[in-house]
Symmetry: C2
Subunit: 161 residues, 2 copies
DNA sequence: GCCACTCACGCAAGATTATTGCGGAAATAC
DNA sequence: GTATTTCCGCAATAATCTTGCGTGAGTGGC
């Protein structure tokens, strides 16, 4: 599961553009097609590469507005958390959901077309599960968004090159 | 740029798995290869599909910890914002960055291996740009994360089927 | 030092998939 | 009713993926 310099180069390329032919990737990392393909294959088996997906333009599919929703609760137990998670899973508007430390207990990122749609979402949400303290923060603009994770921290065995 | 039911089906599939052969997508949406391929092609040209990327496992590349960083500032002007954006662009640890309304002015999501690495990031950040009020919230766990946007709001022309 | 072993590489062939050319049917315009 | 447009599907071609096989570098045992 350790990655060398070539693996990381491959991942950097695939995180930007997963349509690139293996032959071209190989050329860019200084490898012929076969060993490059085998490396990619192995990283998929190992789960380093989880999947390949199409990324859409939020505005073009009419979900240009992002809202961050903070939730505080008194229900601090596993069962409630699972129920909450189950409810959230049913909402495709919620694209990220975290259990937090500190002030708020849960944080989610919601994408909607506009304020009105957010209100609909909100009402639907509180009808499915009882939430004591909810607060919403609207994003005025997305300055940066990337699915590419930094590879500077990845575990390495030999890093001579 | 309007999408009909078939387009949305195609997008749903591609948002889950962009490696699926066009022939199979066609079969699933009730279309032969060629028209299905042309639809995908058109949606790429129109920018609805922005790109196809590989999604990695955060834990496997050693960035299992997410931190949300809230920033308040007194500098409410375009120039400063651009500078800030430029600085953030240089940090691969910052995977999302939003300009917010309300209490905080900016919100970013940062991925790191652990608390120590976050501290390094934090010190590096404040050395690059002067920030008055910064507060960090650590995620204890990622309950949901998807790159798939909801298509329920997409603009539609004819929706007979 | 030499042999056996493993591992990663590259070439070349075969299998899949993407892409294009062409012709036909359904919907729309006039 | 006819012309035009649009979308479909078949079949051929081009590109890419995937596998089989042989080679050389590096490693450990002796």
């Amino acid at each position: 599961m350790a990655l060398d310099k070539i693996d990381r180069k491959i991942l950097t390329l695939l995180q930007k553009d997963a349509t690139m032919p293996v032959a071209e990737i190989g050329r860019k990392v200084g490898l012929s097609t076969t060993p490059c393909w085998r490396r990619i294959q192995k990283m998929e088996e190992d789960g380093v590469i989880q999947r390949r997906v199409a990324v859409l333009d939020p505005a073009k599919v009419n979900v240009g507005v992002t809202v961050f929703v903070s939730v505080k609760t008194n229900e601090h137990n596993e069962a409630w958390m699972r129920k909450f998670a189950g409810v959230i899973d049913e909402f495709p508007e919620v694209v990220e959901f975290y259990r937090m430390s500190g002030d708020v207990d849960y944080l989610m990122r919601v994408v909607v077309p506009d304020i009105g749609a957010y209100d609909s979402f909100y009402k639907k949400l509180i009808s499915k599960i009882n939430l004591t303290d909810v607060s919403s923060a609207f994003a005025m603009g997305q300055i940066k968004y990337t699915t590419a994770l930094p590879l500077d921290f990845a575990i390495v065995v030999d890093d001579d090159k």
